[in-house]
C-alpha cells in the first residue's frame, strides 16, 4: 500500500509541470480565448504572404517588404495551422515547400545566409539590408522545424539542405562571436552577438551545424550578466526586452537544460516576473502599466519601433507603451498571469488592441495611442509560444533535430530530470 501511495505521489509530482503547461484544449471560456488568439494570429501568416513566393511580410502595412525572420516563424506557424486543422495537409505542405524553394532558387545568399529584407514578389534584397545572422537563424529554425514536421518528404531534404549551406564560421569574422551581419558594400558589421539575448538560437544552430560549425567555446564567449529586480535574479539582456527571453525558447525546450548552474527556462520565468514587477512599481508614472499591463518588449510605440524593456537591463527604454505579444509569448512561462492579463486588456480595450490578426503591435494609454499594425515576428513568437503552452509541439519537433542534440553534447550540458 505504501509503495502504491509513494508511486502515485511520485507520478503526480513528475507529471505536474506537464499537466500545468499543456492546457488550453478543454473547451472552457479560457481555452476558447487561447484558441481564438492563436487562430487569429495564425491568419497573419496565411494572408500576409505572397502566394507565389510564400514570403511573409515584415508587418501588415501596405508596401512592407518580406522579413526572412517573419518567414521563418511563418514556416512553423503554417505547420501549427495544419496540426490544429485550420488548413489541410496539402495546403500546409505546398505553402512551406514553395517558400523553401524560393529560398533555394530565388533569394541571393552569401555563404548560405540571407538578407534581412527582401522583395515579397521577386525575393530581391531591399533597403540595402544586411545579410543577417539572427534573421537567417530564425528562418533556419523554421525550416528545421518544418523538416521534422514533414519528416520523410522531399521538403525535409530541402529544408535541411538550406541549413547545411550556412557557413557559421565565416559569420564569426575570425572572432569567437557571431557577427550580426554583413553587407556587400561595407563587409562585416561592427556589432556582434555578445550578450544574452535572442542570439542564443543562432549560437545553437552554429555550434550544432554538421557542415560549418563554430567551436563550442563560442557559447561561453558572450556575456551573461546577472542582475536582480523585485527579488528575481535574471541573466539579463542589454535592453531587458522580454522578447530576448522568448525567441530562442519558442524553438528550444530549455526546461531541463543546465548550463553551469543557469537554467534559461527558469531565467525567462524570472525575467517575466521581474518585468511585471517593474510595471507594477511604475504604474504611477504610466497609466497602462500595472498588474495586467506588463510585458515590456521591443515593438511599435507612438514614436516608432523601440527596444522597450524592464529591469534588470543595461539600458532602459520605456514610455508607457505595452506590446501585448510580450504577455502572449510568456504563456508557457507564466500561463495564468499571461492569460489573465491578456483577457483583461482584451476586455478593456477591445478592437483598439485586438483585430483580425490577433493582438495589435502596441498601445500607449498615456498618449492615447493604439497601433493598427501587426508585426510578423511578434505574431510568430505568439503562435509558437501559445502552441508550446498548449501541446509543446514546437519544442517536441525542433528538439528532434540532430543539430540541437549536437549543440547540447558539444557544450556538455547536463539534462536535468524533469
Amino acid at each position: 500500500m505504501k509503495t502504491i501511495v509513494a508511486l502515485v505521489l511520485v507520478l503526480s509530482v513528475v507529471s505536474y509541470p506537464a499537466a500545468c503547461l499543456y492546457a488550453g484544449n478543454g473547451g472552457t471560456a479560457q481555452d476558447e480565448f487561447v484558441d481564438k488568439i492563436e487562430k487569429d494570429t495564425f491568419r497573419y501568416f496565411w494572408e500576409n504572404a505572397d502566394p507565389d513566393t510564400g514570403l511573409i511580410a515584415d508587418n501588415a502595412s501596405a508596401g512592407a517588404p518580406c522579413s526572412i525572420a517573419a518567414t521563418g516563424f511563418g514556416l512553423a506557424v503554417i505547420c501549427i495551422g495544419h496540426s490544429r486543422g485550420w488548413i489541410t495537409y496539402d495546403e500546409a505542405y505546398n505553402r512551406v515547400f514553395r517558400t523553401l524553394k524560393t529560398f533555394r532558387n530565388t533569394l541571393k545568399n552569401e555563404h548560405g545566409f540571407y538578407y534581412h529584407f527582401v522583395d515579397m514578389k521577386t525575393g530581391r534584397r531591399v533597403w540595402k539590408s544586411e545579410l543577417s545572422s539572427i534573421d537567417s537563424a530564425i528562418f533556419f529554425a523554421g525550416a528545421l522545424f518544418a523538416a521534422q514536421y514533414f519528416k520523410g518528404t522531399e521538403l525535409e531534404r530541402l529544408a535541411n539542405s538550406l541549413y547545411l549551406r550556412a557557413d557559421w564560421k565565416w559569420m564569426t569574422n575570425g572572432t569567437s562571436l557571431l557577427c550580426m551581419g554583413w553587407t556587400p558594400e561595407n563587409g562585416f558589421l561592427g556589432s556582434y552577438w555578445d550578450w544574452y539575448n535572442e542570439g542564443l538560437i543562432a549560437y545553437i544552430l552554429a555550434i550544432g551545424s554538421p557542415t560549418y560549425p563554430i567551436p563550442a567555446e563560442c557559447w561561453k564567449a558572450w556575456r551573461k550578466p546577472v542582475g536582480e529586480y523585485g527579488g528575481y535574479k535574471v541573466v539579463y539582456s542589454f535592453f531587458g526586452s522580454l522578447f530576448t527571453y522568448q525567441f530562442a525558447h519558442a524553438w528550444v525546450d530549455f526546461r531541463n537544460i543546465e548550463d553551469n548552474g543557469i537554467n534559461y527556462w527558469q531565467n525567462s520565468i524570472n525575467a517575466v516576473h521581474a518585468n511585471r514587477k517593474f510595471c507594477i512599481d511604475n504604474a504611477r508614472s504610466h497609466k497602462g502599466y500595472g498588474e495586467d499591463g506588463w510585458g515590456l518588449t521591443a515593438g511599435d510605440g507612438p514614436g516608432g519601433y523601440k527596444g522597450y524593456g524592464a529591469m534588470p537591463a543595461e539600458k532602459l527604454i520605456q514610455d508607457g507603451t505595452i506590446n501585448p505579444y510580450g504577455m502572449a509569448a510568456s504563456m508557457p512561462f507564466v500561463p495564468e498571469l499571461s492569460l489573465k492579463s491578456l483577457k483583461k486588456i482584451y476586455d478593456r480595450h477591445g478592437s483598439s488592441v485586438y483585430g483580425e490578426y490577433g493582438f495589435k503591435a502596441g498601445y500607449n494609454i498615456d498618449k492615447n495611442w493604439f497601433s493598427s499594425n501587426y508585426i510578423g515576428i511578434d505574431q510568430g513568437v505568439t503562435v509558437l509560444m501559445i502552441e508550446n503552452y498548449r501541446t509543446g509541439m514546437v519544442w517536441e519537433n525542433f528538439m528532434r533535430n540532430q543539430c540541437v542534440k549536437s549543440w547540447m553534447e558539444l557544450c556538455g550540458f547536463t539534462v536535468k530530470a524533469p
Binding site: N59, G63, W127, K128, M180, G304, Y305, K306
Partner: protein, 223 residues
C-alpha cells in the same frame, strides 16, 4: 593605285528591287525599334510612376523610418547624435531609390530580352525568305550555266513566281534559245550534207557547208 575605271558611280542600279529591299529592311528595323521603345517606355515609365507615386512614397517613408528604428533597436545606435544619423531616413530613401532605378532598368532589360528574342527570330525567318528570292535564282542560274558549260544547251533559266532577276533569267533564256537555234540549224545542214553527200552536186554541198558555217560564225571567237 587608281581604280577609277572599276568604281561604281550609280548605286541605284535597279531602283525597283532596291526600293523593295530597302522598305523591307526599314520595316523590320522599325518593328524592332518600336517594340524596344514600347517596352522601355512603358517598362520604365510605368514602374517609375508607380514607384514614386505619392502613395508609394508615403509607404516608403514609413518603412524607412521603421528600418531606422529596427537598426537603432538592434545595434543601439539611437543615441549616436551625428548629423548623418538625424537624416538616416533620407539616406534609406535615397538608397532605396537608387536600388529601385537599378531594378527597374534591370527588369526592363530582361523584359526586352524576352520580347526581342521572338522578334529577332521573326526577322531572321523573314530575311531568309527575302534572301531566298535572290539566292534561289542565283543558284538556279549557276546550275544552268554549269550545265551549259558542259554542252547541255537545254538547261533552262525559268524562275519561280516572286523571284528576283526575272529580267536576267529572261535574257539568259533568250540567249540559250538563240544558241540552240544556231547550233540546230548548223547541225541540220551538216546532217543533210552527210546523209545526201552522194546525191548532192558540189555546189549544193558547198551551199550546205556555208549555211552551217554562217550559223556558227554568229559566235565571235576571236577578238
Amino acid at each position: 593605285m587608281k581604280s577609277g575605271g572599276a568604281r561604281r558611280r550609280n548605286y541605284f542600279v535597279n531602283p525597283g528591287m532596291q526600293v523593295r529591299y530597302m522598305a523591307a529592311i526599314v520595316l523590320c528595323m522599325l518593328l524592332a525599334s518600336l517594340l524596344t521603345g514600347v517596352v522601355m517606355y512603358y517598362g520604365i515609365l510605368g514602374r517609375a510612376v508607380s514607384e514614386w507615386s505619392a502613395w508609394k512614397l508615403s509607404e516608403k517613408l514609413q518603412m524607412a523610418s521603421r528600418i531606422k528604428d529596427y537598426e537603432d533597436t538592434r545595434y543601439g545606435t539611437e543615441e549616436v547624435r551625428t548629423p548623418e544619423n538625424y537624416f538616416r531616413e533620407a539616406r534609406f530613401l535615397s538608397e532605396d531609390g537608387q536600388q529601385s532605378v537599378y531594378y527597374i532598368l534591370d527588369d526592363t532589360k530582361n523584359e526586352l530580352m524576352t520580347r526581342i528574342l521572338p522578334i529577332v527570330l521573326v526577322i531572321a525567318a523573314a530575311s531568309i525568305f527575302l534572301s531566298h528570292k535572290i539566292a534561289g535564282p542565283v543558284s538556279r542560274i549557276e546550275k544552268s550555266i554549269n550545265s551549259m558549260s558542259s554542252g547541255n544547251l537545254t538547261a533552262g533559266f525559268r524562275l519561280r513566281k516572286g523571284d528576283e532577276f526575272k529580267g536576267l533569267s529572261g535574257m539568259l533564256e533568250n540567249m540559250a534559245e538563240i544558241f540552240r537555234m544556231k547550233i540546230d540549224i548548223s547541225v541540220n545542214s551538216l546532217d543533210e550534207l552527210i546523209k545526201d553527200a552522194d546525191k548532192l552536186s558540189p555546189a549544193q554541198i558547198k551551199s550546205k557547208a556555208e549555211e552551217a558555217r554562217r550559223q556558227l560564225l554568229f559566235f565571235k571567237t576571236k577578238p
